[in-house]
Symmetry: C2
Subunit: 202 residues, 2 copies
DNA sequence: TGGAAAAACGAACGTATGTTTACTTCCAGC
DNA sequence: GCTGGAAGTAAACATACGTTCGTTTTTCCA
């Protein structure tokens, strides 16, 4: 019968996704070619098609999985933070920065290769991204309503905060001068200070 | 003798650069092909080579010119701001946001197509970018020394601020809900609030 | 106005690319 | 041990791409 799960097929599929992530991160999707990808995995170019439907489908699968993982991780962090608004806001920002350092390749792809997706695929990834942004805008709106935050425009401020915190994955290196904890604390403080109402500060 | 400046040649060259800027912005450098570019200009693909040396040289020229213009505009804004530190910091941030809205295509290219450059070309663009970042880190250092700013790490903070303010060119549209002035004010305030020392605030 | 350089044309070259196809190899289950 | 499907090979196909080249057209100074 068919080869069972866990056999070479699944391992090759995972190797293809891992190698593709690195190649797309370094060269961009359009500049990556399937011959280089196959060589990195150690198989012939044609054999890729035992595991993927097309180059486009490979990109879409990678982006969808990473966006889903980001959303799931965020929701878990929010749940663990408890009900207090500022705790949840801090948890969102901390998780965002940490996640963007630890999985910077996947995140960079999800942020920069939207234009390489066919329209239907792009719409689905954009929907996931919007859902993620909605987590932050909801927190900001809550904070404004509670009189804790000073946010002139919730949508634009959310974009600006996410852009700042996402920027870290374009230069962060694990062996860099500062550790993860320091970078998380620095970025979260920078973002929070930008929106806290002054009279509530020490 | 040779055709003089201002004849069709110069106009075609400018049209090529303008069309290339739009195509690279929308599709990315690797995904843009010279046949589409030539069609948009209204000439045959081979005729492009009367005006450019190669596709790579075209990208490098675009990036170099835009980085040089950004640096020149920044220095002009700093000069116009006078000697006071906070005035100069505000001028830098205002100019950055405004420039990134008005020339968002060129800036997006300069920020995202570094990997498409050959090593020698990349080194030259990176040098221009470093010079730009140095303008901000110098201001931050001055602010810390004067006791006006609270910046735990100058380099990382500068990266974070630039990432936040640069993010605007990935979503700004001239016909959007908010005007340029509002967006400049919002972003500059957000960035400044993140680093101002608390006791100096109202 | 004649002539020479510049600019554009039209067609081709060589190669790289995503993908397909026919064939072989390997392994689990009857 | 036979068998069938999954996984891999080797080679090819069709096309798209950056670039070149010989020729023709346009432009403007002498």
């Amino acid at each position: 019968m068919a080869r069972t799960t866990g056999s070479n097929g699944a391992r090759t599929h995972a190797a293809i996704r891992a190698a593709a992530t690195g190649l797309i991160y370094r060269q961009g999707f359009a500049a990556m070619n399937l011959r280089d990808l196959a060589a990195e995995v150690g198989i012939q170019p044609g054999s890729l098609y035992n595991h993927i439907d097309s180059k486009q489908a490979l990109l879409f699968d990678l982006m969808q999985d990473h966006m889903a993982a980001l959303l799931a991780g965020t929701d878990a962090a929010l749940d663990a933070a408890g009900p207090a608004l500022m705790d949840r806001l801090r948890a969102f920002l901390d998780h965002h920065v940490l996640y963007h350092m630890e999985r910077r390749e996947e995140i960079a792809i999800a942020n920069s290769e939207l234009r390489a997706l066919e329209p239907e695929n792009r719409a689905r990834i954009v929907a996931l991204r919007s859902a993620y942004e909605a987590r932050l805008t909801a927190l900001l709106r809550e904070g404004v309503a509670a009189g804790l935050l000073s946010v002139p425009d919730v949508a634009v401020t959310a974009y600006a905060m996410l852009a700042m915190l996402t920027g870290i994955c374009s230069w962060y290196r694990p062996d860099g001068r500062l550790g993860k904890e320091e970078l998380v604390a620095l970025h979260t403080a920078l973002a929070l200070n930008g929106i806290l109402r002054r009279q509530h500060q020490a």
